[in-house]
Each structure stands twice: as C-alpha cells, then as structure tokens.
C-alpha cells in the first residue's frame, strides 16, 4: 500500500440552523456528510464541487479550524507517530499546524493589512522556532525568493502588492514551517488567467522541490484536471465520486460528475457542447431520503429517491450511485 499521509474516516460536520421560537436550532445543514478517503504522500488530491457542496468545510475540518461533529482524521507526518486530529488538544494542534498548512482563497483578506511582510510570513517562525531579528529576516527573505518575490519587499505592507503577489505571500507563509501537507482552498480562483497559470506553476515547482502533498480545493474543473493526481467530486456534503484524474475524465461514473464535465465550457469553438446542460434543472429542494442528487438526476428512479445509494468500487473508482457503471 502506498504511503498515506492523511486518513479521513466517516467525517461528519453538521451546522445547526436556527429559526425556532426561541431561536433554537430546528434543523441541521449536513455540510459534510459521512466522508472517507485517504491522501497519499506526495500527491495532489483535488476536491471539486459547486458552491454549497461542502468542499471548503471539508478543508476546514481537516485543518481543525472547525470541529467536526463525528468521524476521524489521522495525520501521518514523516518520522512522527500518527495523530488523531479530531478532538486534538489546542497545544498539540499548534505542533501539527507546522506540518500541515493552509493557503486561503482570498489573499486580500488572509493577510492582516496592518502587518509587514516580515511579520506576516515570519509570524509562524517566530512562534515555532523562536526566530527573531536578522535570523528571521534572513529566513523570510529566502522564503520570498522561493515564491518569486524580491527580498526587498520584506518591510512592505500587503496593500503594496497586486493580487498575484499577495497570493505568493500566502504561499510563502504556508511554506515557512516546512510543512508536509498544504491545503489550498480555492487558492487560484480569485486570480486572473495569466496570474493563475503562474501560481499553478509555482505550486508545482514547490511540490517537486520540497516533496509536498497538496489537498487542492477548487471549483474550476479544468484547473483541477490540470493540477491534480486524484480527484474527489463533492455534491451536497458527500463525495459522490473519487478517482484518478485520468479515469475520472475518461469515464465519469456518477451522473453528477458527468453533468459537471458536460457543463464546463471548452476553450475551443469547434467543440461546442450543444444543449446538454438543460437536462439537470434543480427545483431547489433537497430530498431528505435517498440519493441527494436524485431531484436533478435524469436517471433517477424510485429506488434513488427512497434509498441511500451504496458506495461502490468500479475500476479503482469510488462511486456513490445505485446505478454506477450501469448508466
């Protein structure tokens, strides 16, 4: 078996929603609903889904920014004993956060506008290694160069940078403690096409240089296909399909994956997709029983609407569909 760095088992995250007479919760949003997967060391694990699919919540649960309702997440850092992250103590978490870092979607809001670059990027070093003064400046300078920024930027404030440069700062900050796993939550979504390409290349270079593992959360399917080794497709809190990139795009097995791939516009006018998208109109309701995609699925039967679909494994692909492989 390949070297696993992260093991997620039966992860559940429910958010209560209010609305009762005394403001008490009347219902829960099942933002992450029973998810299990492994991330292998050195790979780029993509999580793709539309807004509201729970992909960001998943990332935050793994990071323990949110405390999952149930389930387990085991992190295997190199030459360290595996740790269970769910229910982990704050103190221990701070150690783990050195090996497991995060890059945020919006480089604008994830950098405190009142801190200089040296403090932004070096904050974790100061905490983790107690670096100060020149030693800290040296380390941050190296980090800046590694992400393609000049070390003269050390004393600047974030407002003196463009969007792309800010995201590089975010990456430098994630890199600072020499982590093994980086969770990139929509890390390139806010960037322009040309800057996005630069950033993706940078991430790839860093992965090779430092033997990093990425969990790459995104909604842009073309980017995910380009960047990831394996992909989990999420729909309403569930991973409906998990497969290698090649297999997923060659033969999508879940009807939702298929609809998603069909809907992506291809930058080639000779490959117009015609009118296939209209097949999946949502009426906005989510069934409480059965398959969550049933109300939008063109192949749905009564079985789908009443019974939860089982997890099936076909050609190395995990699919959550009654009729996987049959459609």
């Amino acid at each position: 078996m390949a070297d696993t760095i992260l093991q997620v088992r039966d992860l559940v995250m429910h958010f209560p929603i209010g609305g009762g007479f005394f403001g008490e919760p009347t219902d829960v949003v099942r933002a992450v609903d029973d998810i299990s997967f492994d991330v292998l060391r050195g790979e780029t694990f993509g999580v793709v889904g539309e807004s509201g699919s729970g992909k960001t919540t998943l990332g935050r649960c793994i990071m323990q920014i949110l405390n999952p309702t149930d389930g387990s997440i085991t992190f295997h850092a190199k030459s360290k004993a595996p740790v269970e992250l769910v229910g982990c103590e704050k103190k221990q978490l701070r150690d783990i956060w050195q090996d497991m870092r995060m890059v945020f979607q919006d480089p604008q809001s994830s950098l405190n506008p009142r801190l200089r670059v040296i403090d932004l990027v070096g904050q974790c070093l100061r905490k983790a290694e107690g670096l100060t003064g020149q030693a800290l400046a040296d380390r941050v300078s190296v980090l800046l160069e590694q992400v393609g920024l000049r070390k003269e930027f050390l004393l600047r404030f974030p407002n003196a940078f463009s969007g792309g440069q800010r995201q590089r700062l975010g990456i430098a900050r994630a890199l600072a403690t020499q982590p093994e796993l980086i969770i990139a939550d929509e890390a390139v979504s806010a960037l322009d096409v040309s800057i996005q390409a630069q950033t993706l290349n940078l991430l790839q270079d860093l992965q090779e240089a430092f033997d990093l593992t990425y969990i790459f959360i995104a909604h842009d399917i073309a980017v995910v296909e380009h960047f990831c080794d394996r992909i989990a497709v999420m729909y309403l809190g569930q991973v409906v399909e998990l497969s290698t990139t090649y297999e997923l795009f060659r033969d999508p097995k879940h009807p939702y994956t298929r609809a998603l791939l069909d809907a992506v516009p291809i930058p080639d006018p000779r490959a117009r997709r015609g009118k296939r998208a209209t097949a999946v109109v949502s009426d906005g309701t989510v069934a409480k029983t059965g398959c969550r995609f049933a109300s939008r699925c063109p192949h749905a039967t009564d079985l789908c609407r009443n019974t939860k679909p089982p997890r099936k494994r076909i050609n190395g692909t995990d699919v959550l569909c009654h009729f996987a492989g049959a459609i």
């Binding site: 609305g19 007479f21 005394f22």
Partner: protein, 327 residues
C-alpha cells in the same frame, strides 16, 4: 411574520421586568423609608395618627424584605393600578400624572413627525447632491444641532423671542386659556406655543437623522441595483425614490427605536426650562423633594411607553422590510 411579532413581544418581558426593578431601586435609594418622610412632613401640619401609619406600613410592606416590598409595589400597580401616594401633594399618584404624561407623549410624537419631515428631504438632498453648497449647509446645521444641548437652545430661543419679538414664552397655552375649556381659539393659541418646544426638542434628533439618512443613502446610491434601474431607462427621480431611498428608509425607520427615548429625555429637560405642563417639571420637583413614589411612577411609565414605542417601530420595520419578516 406572526412568529416574529410573538418573539419580539416575548423579548419585551425581561426588559419591562428590568425597568420595574430599576425604578424600584430608584424609589428605595434615598435614605429612610417613605413613611418616615411622610410622617415628618405631615407632623408639621397636624400629623397622622399612628393607626393610619401602621396600615400604610403594612400596605407597602415596609420593614419587610426587599422582594416583599417589590412584590407589593408591583402587584399594586399591575392589579389595582395603584402607584402609591405622592406625599408632597398627599394625593394618589394616579390623580396627578396622566395629564402630564399625555402632554409629554403628544409633544414627543409631534416632535418625531417634525424630525421626519425635516430630516428625510434634507438627508436625501444632501446625499444626492454630495459636496454641494446645500450639502455643506446641511452638514453644518447637523453638527451644530448635535452640539447645542437642547436646554441651551430652549434658553436662547426664549431669549430671542422675548428680546426681539417681545413674546413671553413658556407653557403650552397663554395664561388666560390654562383652565379654559377647549375652543378653537385655545387650539390656535396652543399651536402658537407648541411649535417652539417641538423645534427645540427636535433639533438634535433631526440633525442626527439627517446625518444617518445621508450616510444610508450614500451607501445605497452606488449599489448595482441602482445601475440596473438606470439601465432600465427609469428617470433619475423615479429610480431614486423607488430603489435607494426605499432601501435607505429601513435603517431610518429603525432609528425610532433610539430616537424615541432621547426625545422623551429631551422633552423632560426642555419642559423644565420652558415650564411646560408635562412630566418634566413634575419629575424634577418630585426628585428634588424626594417624593419617590411620584418620581418612580413617572420614570416607570415613561420608560414603559418608550419600550412600547420601540416595539411598534420594530414591528413597523418588519412590516415594510420583507427581509426581516421572512427571517
């Protein structure tokens, strides 16, 4: 909507309870109990026999634990409408206050209308014609209005009225009408007098509301939906009134919640200066001679009515803003 109304009314209960407690504490604050003062007061003018005194002592639960006293006081009010005795006048509080409360609230409500009539158009003008001469004038007026305490304004206006117009100001009607029955002439005379307290009490509120309306509207003026409306071909005036002004009105209406308490406060202090037949002078007099049941009752009722006014404004807001209604 109904659920919201119920919840809002339910929220009022602890507030009302707190108001009664605070009032009770104020009544208890001066040293010595009420009957000691009463006995001392009346001993000069013939005195009270000890039997009556004992009966009263029992009725108010004096000498018993605080919560018993509170209970007797509050149940007296709730079930018998008995607010206690004013020892200075030796009359039930009930006989003294209602007229004056009526005037206080009449003036406060009229002032509210005045504020609205002034602040709404000026606020809109000042936002739409930002940095125009009119806007600067409104801003200047706004700041002055906020900076002049209303009793000072009352004094200045009385001075000006007397000095330059030879008009003696004070009271709500001319002396010859005070005990006269209501006639057309008396109403005309009332109108001649009542505008001044209204303007005096309303100035700071109007100034504040102009600033608020201007800020609210400026927030809305550059929203995308305004651009949409413009792109639809609506005339500027139509579009202004139907969209941004309509939206900016909501926070404006919710200001009733805090403007009403300040108006009542302002009315009380201005009434002292202008010698109006409202609660102000009576409350001040009661406090100065420590006629605590009278003072306490006034504070209690004024506060309760304000809380009620706030409730009405909240319901009004929910009625006109669908977003609140559907929460």
């Amino acid at each position: 909507m109904l659920g919201y109304v119920y919840r809002r009314i339910l929220y009022m209960i602890p507030t009302v309870f707190l108001v009664s407690i605070v009032t009770f504490i104020i009544i208890q604050l001066p040293p010595g109990d009420y009957l000691d003062t009463l006995a001392a007061e009346l001993s000069d003018s013939g005195g009270l026999d000890s039997g009556t005194l004992e009966a009263l002592r029992d009725q108010y639960g004096l000498g018993q634990p605080m919560y018993v006293q509170y209970w007797k006081w509050i149940t007296g009010i709730l079930f018998h409408g008995d607010f206690g005795l004013s020892f200075e006048k030796n009359l039930p509080v009930n006989d003294l206050i209602w007229d004056r409360l009526g005037w206080t609230f009449a003036i406060s409500l009229l002032t509210l209308l005045f504020i609205w009539a002034v602040a709404l158009p000026i606020g809109i003008y000042s936002a739409v014609r930002k940095y125009s001469v009119g806007d600067y004038a409104a801003t200047f007026f706004g700041f002055i209005g906020l900076a002049v305490p209303n009793f000072l304004l009352a004094l200045v206006m009385m001075y000006v009225a007397f000095k330059y117009f030879g008009q003696s100001v004070g009271g709500l009607v001319s002396p010859e009408y005070i005990d006269a029955p209501w006639t057309w002439d008396k109403i005309v005379d009332l109108l001649k007098h009542i505008w001044m307290p209204i303007v005096v009490v309303g100035t700071s509120g109007a100034a504040a509301l102009i600033r608020i309306m201007r800020a609210n509207l400026l927030d809305e003026l550059y929203r995308p939906y305004v651009v949409t409306a413009r792109a639809k071909g609506m005339s500027e005036f139509q579009l202004l009134m139907r969209y941004p002004v309509r939206v900016a009105l909501n926070p404006f209406i919710s200001t009733i919640g805090w403007i009403l308490p300040t108006l009542v406060s302002g009315e009380i202090i201005v009434a002292v200066v202008m010698n109006l037949p409202t609660t102000g002078p009576m409350l001040l007099r009661a406090l100065l001679v420590q006629d605590m049941y009278l003072a306490g009752s006034l504070i209690l009722i004024v506060s309760l009515l304000t809380v009620l006014g706030t409730l009405i404004s909240d319901l009004l807001l929910a009625w006109i803003d669908p977003r609140i209604r559907y929460q």
